[in-house]
């Protein structure tokens, strides 16, 4: 029991951290620019594919640095030559723009890398067992993902809260006109933030591409859950995204492990229910619905999310 508990916590935290790597970029972009970037998970996918192609020639460690930068550059180009022009036509236009981008990137990936998954493997240097606990092994690569995610969180936090750049970014978030009047180039800050956010998604792709599978459906698989994290944590709130990622990671992992039903619980209290009724369904089968249910509930109870700043 203790064994499965510890492993559920580790797995839950790990999944949560992966979610956070994606969600942080998305929530930053939304917080700054008010743009809900539908294509965010597509940049995540690009990160994985770039990492695969780069690691073919230069190895994983070069890919780890280079792939997020390339994705960030693509993000910057998207913002500078796409979003900025669409921006004048309002949020709906921006939303539709990123929506279209999802399909464009999907098809491009299929054209370049094909529909069959690519063989993007965990580097040999990280392919060993970190520690064994009660006979179960904990792979080093998971530890590495955890490490990178925590380093990333600290770095973003320090950047936003402790540096001058961060101050300007936060100021442009709430008072863009004032920051502009003080002589800062607000559009360029927007481009930078967008590039940074997509670069983070790219980094998540590099880390998750070989942990999961690098294939054209990976953006589609990850997209919805990241939105749930961002909405649940509060749009625009980095801390909220962090907490929400962990909660959702843990909740889904634990729910899957629960091998009993509501009817079992009631039976324990002396109330008999047929195992064939709805109450007889194993709780584990509800596991993957829980994040969405949590999002629906929090929108009813607290529309701005856990730590969201604004009501809109």
């Amino acid at each position: 029991m203790l064994e499965s508990f510890i492993f559920s916590v580790l797995n839950g935290v790990l999944y949560g951290m992966l979610l956070f790597m994606l969600a942080s970029g998305l929530t930053l972009i939304f917080g700054m620019m008010g743009v809900l970037n539908f294509a965010h998970a597509s940049y995540y996918m690009l990160g994985a594919y770039f990492a695969f192609s780069i690691s073919e020639y230069a190895g994983f460690w070069v890919a780890l640095i280079l792939a997020p930068i390339v994705v960030g550059l693509l993000g910057a180009l998207t913002e500078r030559f796409g979003l900025r022009n669409v921006h004048k036509h309002g949020h709906v236009a921006e939303l539709l723009f990123t929506f279209g981008l999802v399909y464009v990137i999907d098809e491009l990936v299929v054209l370049i890398w094909g529909r069959v998954p690519v063989n993007y493997q965990i580097p040999d240097a990280l392919d060993f067992t970190l520690f064994s606990l009660y006979g179960s092994q904990f792979p080093a690569y998971r530890g590495f993902i955890l490490l990178v995610a925590i380093a990333m969180f600290v770095a973003i936090y320090v950047l936003l809260v402790r540096t001058r750049v961060g101050m300007i970014i936060r100021a442009s978030l709430s008072h863009p006109d004032m920051v502009g009047a003080l002589g800062h180039n607000v559009p360029r800050i927007f481009t930078l933030v967008f590039a940074f956010g997509t670069g983070l998604a790219g980094l998540a792709g590099v880390m998750a591409g070989n942990y999961f599978i690098t294939e054209p459906g990976m953006a589609y698989a990850m997209g919805p859950i990241v939105f749930v994290v961002v909405v649940f944590g509060g749009l625009g709130s980095l801390g909220g995204a962090f907490v929400a990622s962990l909660i959702i990671g843990l909740v889904t992992t634990f729910a899957v492990g629960m091998n009993y039903s509501v009817a079992d619980l009631l039976a324990g209290m002396g109330i008999a229910f047929g195992q064939d009724s709805v109450l007889g369904i194993n709780l584990s089968r509800f596991g993957l619905m829980l994040p969405y249910l949590m999002m629906v509930l929090i929108l009813i109870v607290r529309p701005r999310g856990l730590m969201g700043a604004r009501e809109s």
Binding site: V116, F138, A221, T252, G257
Partner: protein, 423 residues
Amino acid sequence: MKNTMRLVRRSLATVGVAAALAVPAIGSAADDTIKIGLIDPLSGPFANIGDLGVKGFTFLAERINEDGGILGRDVEIVPFDNKGSAQESLQNLREAADEGIQYITQGLGSNVGNALVNGVEKHNRRNPDNRVVYLNFAAVDPALTNEKCSFWHFRFDANSAMKMKAITDSIADQKQVKKVFLINQDYSHGQFISKAGKELLAEKRPDIEIVGDVLHPLGKVKDFSPYISQIESSDADVVISGNWGNDLALLVRAGAQAGLDVDYYTYYGSLVGTPRAIGEAGEGKLKTITEYQENLAVDKNQADLQELGETFEERYAPLEFNVLRTKTELHMLKKAMEKAGTTDPLQVAYAMEGMTLETGMGEVTMRAKDHQLLQPLFISTLTKDYKKYDAEGTGFGWKTDVEIPADETAVPSSCEMKRPPRS
């Protein structure tokens, strides 16, 4: 295609009289081929599987045409994109019938298979002059050759009950196996495997303990490690799974990362993309039940099949030719048309009943009772120690463990076939 046709017609119309002559000419040229409508997803998440189907069938049809075609006519594969939806497939069926296509083939999804069987039945009742035969090469729901069987439907893949019979036979023969864990996708296919697996094992080896029986959401799980923890703590020797695509690849990979040492008996371990997505994680552990994999051509000294696979791969790498049943399907259709001396669906369907064919893997029979093909099945393991061909460039290939002769794969059918009058 439609637009170009319209354009052609419109431009011809301006020439006036010429149009009246030209259009029928186009029509008759096209009518000379035997068309087979291939209805499968060509867009969306399963497009890779549909795409392989189009390439495989087209390739096989070309080879038949090089050998003189069927009854002197060329075979043409006409792809229709059903986007994975049953509703869309019925639309495709209508389009195909409108174009005068008399043979359709489909594989992905028993929900689509069910819809098509109903659709074809209805269509043939209403249009006795324009009937359609449905050749099914991968929808494995047993119902299609049992309570829902139809005279117009022929299945060339072993159905789910037959595969589970073969898997449990093989497990029952291994005395060291004591604990079995079932993990499946939560929809009709996975639910059937879970149910049939438990029943058959209880019958053949009552001493085997089912230590787990999990249904998980279809295509939604990204991290399988919680399930792996369950398998690990259950002490299972063998995992049986009907999972396909990412649901299988992620399961096996998560297992390897946690150092889980079990054999996976799967239906779809060799499905396109899966060996590559699993790679090293499946070494010596991943087993699959199929009617063919490339190294079987080496096992059985089939030079023709080796040449076919190599030519296919040369043209379409990294895709490989692993679905011999599609070849069986086209060649049995050819044999039936030649036997009937016509391409008329009714006569061809009658000719196909009870028909046998030598495929290189052994003799196969289209059972007349329920239109289920009986063919030898093989259980193979993904390993470094393969004979000749690796799977999808991974450095690991399929090695044959067990052969199940065609007659031993048979399971009884409850089908009561309603046959239309013969002429």
